[in-house]
Subunit: 217 residues, 2 copies
DNA sequence: CGGGCGCGTGAATCACCATTCACTCGTTGC
DNA sequence: GCAACGAGTGAATGGTGATTCACGCGCCCG
């Protein structure tokens, strides 16, 4: 590698950074945050431990980037799903279903990034993720509330509660793991249904909304 | 102290054990699980670090006892509240409200014991707590389901989701902290209401049930 | 009362990881 | 070709916190 950064080298460096982040993600998926250790990440990425520090000033920064990357992806998916829906209530349903479906697919990673402990600095970031998620849902809840589609309630309480219900009910360690696609689909629908009811949509109407949701890949 | 354990000494030892557990609990309340370190616990209990090991084979065992003590208390409270209610649906409501109210009062402790990271062995115990809680709610949900008080649903999914919603909505770091008793009462009622709706009780009926609940001290 | 059992002690030890740094070596610009 | 730059290395370092252990002392037993 060069001493005046060549186009070629820049690409190589960026690639390596992605490799490192990928290794960290893979380890988180396999063994949770506890498995994301600088030495293991380096080994997995095929480099020396010290090299990690050429790319990230500290392990905390590495994990921060991992978490914010995941958060961005998930939030974007929720937004897209919601925006494709015709009205505020179906947007809410679509957002919930989309998050539920994706979270279930990526259980380990979402759990690691959302609930597992690292250190105080990272906790802030994890919290940010949950909060952005809650904020996104809160926005949708307010919109539905404004359209009189939901009974009067404090969205500031409902939104975090829904996030908790979905995470705990679907990706948390207590959640039953569906062993095939059909079972997963049922679980996602059940969780979405429960969330909509929690917000005050009556069972029958909620079932209709859920049935209309297009679940992501 | 003696070499054939006198009545007196047994008492002294038991007292000391309680002191240690009390110190651990106090630290958890003040600074979360991270603050529960053998050295700090010892200092707080007014003994040397080594002494802790005369009472608990390892820090993990100490924390295990702390968690299971808290879990037992909370579960018992839920059971009592539920059993005092006239029918299955109001029993469910009473159990939820009781848990919500107590959890809110003891936010820091419940959060620490329920969600904060320690190590893999302790995680099992934390999980046990959540599971017993979910199991207790699940039982009540099934009873209500059997009486046709709730729409058809999989209690194995609903129960953990409710636990998640209550914890995240009330005690988690995103939950707004009520600054007086009245606000706390409102928050507990809102969370209970949301949980009942999640299970399929329609808003108006749920409000009635919540209004009837006697909140614990 | 005196012998001895263990409790209590806390400094030392151990283990685990993140982080550093003196050095090697591939690549580039001339 | 070759001088120089900086990426890559990985053993050594450092910090944090649990756990141990050899010793001193208070209390029970006869």
């Amino acid at each position: 590698m060069p001493y005046r950064r060549t186009e070629n080298v820049v690409r190589r460096l960026a690639l390596r950074e992605d490799t490192i982040l990928g290794a960290a993600e893979a380890l988180a998926i396999e063994g949770g945050m506890a498995a994301v250790q600088v030495a293991s990440v380096a080994e997995r990425a095929g480099i020396a431990a010290g090299t990690v520090y050429r790319y990230f000033p500290s392990k905390t920064d590495l994990i921060a980037e991992l978490i914010s990357g995941v958060a961005e992806r998930e939030l974007e998916a929720v937004r897209l799903a919601a925006e494709a829906a015709p009205g505020p209530l179906s947007a809410l349903a679509a957002g919930l279903a989309s998050f539920a479906a994706r979270a279930l697919q990526r259980r380990r990673l979402i759990w690691a990034v959302t609930a597992e402990p690292v250190d105080a600095d990272v906790d802030t970031l994890r919290l940010d993720f949950r909060q952005s998620l809650a904020a996104e849902f809160e926005r949708r809840i307010r919109a539905a509330l404004a359209g009189r589609h939901l009974p009067d309630q404090d969205a500031r309480v409902s939104a975090p509660a829904i996030v908790g219900a979905l995470l705990e009910g679907l990706v948390g360690p207590m959640a039953p793991s569906p062993d095939n696609d059909a079972a997963a689909r049922v679980a996602v629908q059940a969780a979405t249904l429960l969330s909509l009811r929690a917000l005050g949509v009556v069972d029958a109407r909620a079932r209709g909304l859920v049935a209309q949701c297009v679940l992501p890949v």
